[in-house]
């Protein structure tokens, strides 16, 4: 009962959820990141999450597309959770190397005890310059669902830009990964 309600209540309690439509075609995220969308998306517009625009096709318990746009040196990606004794806030530093940025994201994903396994980390051209792409498998602690993820990142002028897509490894991720790749590799900065 509570797992279902918890998932649903998360939307009600953690900032008020409204879901807006993002039309296909060109979209500009946070005024700076220009992406070309093959189809429409649903955007999670909430007070608390303003820094990390989050989109979905099938719902947040299923798939999730996150944008990191111009995260500055010293910015807190996620605060230490209240009541979680062991945690420190997650902070981005401009001099972080790709493997450190991925490690930071991994910590963000695994705070609830989920298990993360990095499959690949390689250089790519992203946002008109040097960047990196990483692929991972996440086993969600709460319900045991296995999710595949792909992320694209680059640091420009000391700021972090990234696009990360995550969906169930069976049936969902394979369906959208090409679309995501096309969108990420053609993304540019304003």
């Amino acid at each position: 009962m509570m797992r279902l309600l918890a998932l649903v209540l998360v939307f009600l309690v953690t900032g008020c959820v409204t879901v807006a439509k993002v039309d296909k075609g060109q979209q500009i995220v946070q005024g700076r990141l220009v992406v070309e969308l093959e189809g429409p998306w649903n955007q999670f517009a909430s007070v608390g999450q303003a820094q990390i625009p989050t989109w979905t096709i099938d719902g947040f318990s299923v798939d999730r597309l996150q944008f990191f746009v111009g995260v500055t040196d010293g910015a807190v990606l996620a605060p230490a959770q209240p009541g979680a004794k062991d945690q420190r806030p997650l902070v981005f530093r401009a001099q972080m190397q790709p493997h450190e940025i991925v490690a930071l994201y991994e910590t963000y994903l695994t705070r609830d005890g989920s298990a993360f396994k990095l499959d690949r980390l390689e250089p790519i051209q992203f946002l008109g310059g040097q960047g990196f792409r990483f692929a991972y498998l996440l086993t969600r602690r709460m319900d045991g669902v296995q999710l595949s993820g792909v992320g694209y990142g680059a640091v420009r002028g000391g700021e972090l830009f990234g696009i990360v897509y995550q969906a169930p490894r069976l049936g969902f991720f394979p369906r959208y990964s090409k679309q995501i790749e096309t969108m990420a590799l053609s993304a540019r900065l304003n």
């Binding site: 009962m1 509570m2 797992r3 918890a6 959770q81 009541g83 979680a84 004794k85 062991d86 945690q87 420190r88 190397q97 790709p98 493997h99 991994e106 910590t107 695994t110 705070r111 609830d112 005890g113 298990a115 993360f116 990095l118 499959d119 690949r120 980390l121 390689e122 250089p123 040097q130 990196f132 692929a135 086993t139 602690r141 709460m142 319900d143 045991g144 296995q146």
Partner: protein, 389 residues
């Protein structure tokens, strides 16, 4: 008892019943007056509160069996089951042990016989006797039906209800610290379980002096954290808070003699090390991890794997002389017999951070030679190329 759990057990459990016959030795039970192992429990009336608890636990057991966090290594499962069976004697057929991948120090036993051992605990045991102390303690709670006693306290039951309804036993890692205290066993129950645990250990031929060391090690690790009230700060030990009183009582009650079976235990753990140590390092609690790794290296010697992880912890903690010491550990991890590819990567990253480019290049090249198919080979090549220009 839920039909499923019986069938599930029979699939791989009962071969261990044979071990029980030979294990009991002649030592008399002492320190517990006229306590004796109770006879096997009959399945409770489903309508009773005990029956309800069993059935609820059976559901959790089913969830656990389906969870990707249950460790499916058959050799480990049989090994753990064998220990529980030796300790549980006549109750062996009613006990089912599950190893769970979770980086916290935790072991528990539900009134229906389902026992969980979390990987954070497995990592911290030095030998089979220490694990037997923990499992024996949990079996003690089981034999004395302590959880039923606790759950009859309505206040505890409502806290338990929150726990079960919200998270179940499987999904709870992050919340465990907050909720575990609310339905903990009473001091008297803990003392009783400690004593019974020692008796079961002794009857199974284990060295009872090892029980106290479990708590001594825990206390040392908790104290490693900077900050005042270390043991309450660490979520690592939330379900089994370490106390000097228990350590001392167990030391007093222990008797010389018996086995530790250190080699057998370490042989099992070593197969799991890369994954478990990785989970440990990722906790980001470097002071605690350092204490643990120092202890493991002290016991097992300078094995490459252990040196690699300690080097990584130092590299990540990066305080005081950590980086210098990390270099020493990582270099030793590459020199030692069977040098690990990832130790070369760690060295490369370290040298690179210190701007020692020739050594960084050499380390990265070696990493790529040893592990050309590594997932991060692409980015390491990039780092290498950057250093060439």
């Amino acid at each position: 008892m839920h039909g499923i759990t019986r069938r599930g057990f029979l699939r791989w459990g009962c071969m261990h019943c044979a071990l029980v016959a030979g294990a009991a030795n002649a030592q008399q039970m002492q320190g517990l007056g006229d306590w004796a192992v109770p006879p096997r429990f009959a399945a409770p009336d489903p309508a009773s509160d005990e029956g309800g608890l069993w059935a609820t636990m059976a559901r959790e057991e089913q969830r656990l069996r389906r969870s990707p966090f249950m460790i499916r290594d058959n050799e480990l499962r049989e090994y753990l089951q064998g220990i529980a069976c030796k300790l549980g004697a006549d109750h062996c057929p009613d006990i089912r042990v599950y190893a769970v991948r979770a980086a916290m120090f935790n072991a528990s036993m539900a009134p229906n016989g389902m026992m969980q051992v979390w990987s954070g605990l497995l990592l911290r045991m030095e030998n089979e006797a220490q694990l037997a102390a923990v499992l024996g303690h949990e079996i003690g709670h089981f034999l004395q039906r302590h959880s039923l006693e606790r759950l009859r306290d309505a206040r505890v039951r409502s806290a338990f209800g929150v726990f079960m309804a919200a998270f179940g036993l499987v999904g709870a890692v992050a919340q465990l610290g907050a909720l575990a205290g609310q339905f903990a066993y009473s001091r008297e129950q803990e003392r009783e379980a400690d004593r019974i645990g020692l008796e079961l250990m002794s009857a199974a031929g284990y060295d009872t002096r090892e029980a106290s060391k479990v708590w001594a090690n825990l206390l040392a690790e908790a104290a490693a954290r900077p900050g005042s009230d270390s043991s309450s700060n660490s979520v690592l030990f939330a379900t089994h808070p370490a106390s000097p009183e228990r350590r001392d009582m167990l030391a007093k009650l222990a008797r010389p003699g018996g086995e530790t079976r250190e080699q057998a235990y370490q042989a099992q753990l070593r197969r799991l090390y890369p994954e478990l140590l990785d989970d440990e390092v990722r906790r980001g609690q470097y002071d605690e991890s350092m204490m643990l790794l120092d202890r493991l290296i002290d016991r097992q010697g300078r094995r490459s794997e252990l040196l690699y992880f300690r080097g990584e912890v130092r590299r990540l903690r990066a305080q005081d002389d950590d980086l210098d010491r990390a270099l020493v550990d990582l270099r030793a991890a590459t020199d030692a017999e069977g040098g690990l590819p990832q130790a070369h990567r760690g060295l490369g990253l370290l040298y690179r951070a210190r701007n020692d480019l020739p050594n960084a290049r050499a380390a990265f090249v070696r990493y790529l030679e040893l592990a050309p198919q590594a997932g991060d080979a692409g980015i390491i090549k990039t780092y290498l190329d950057e250093m060439k220009s």
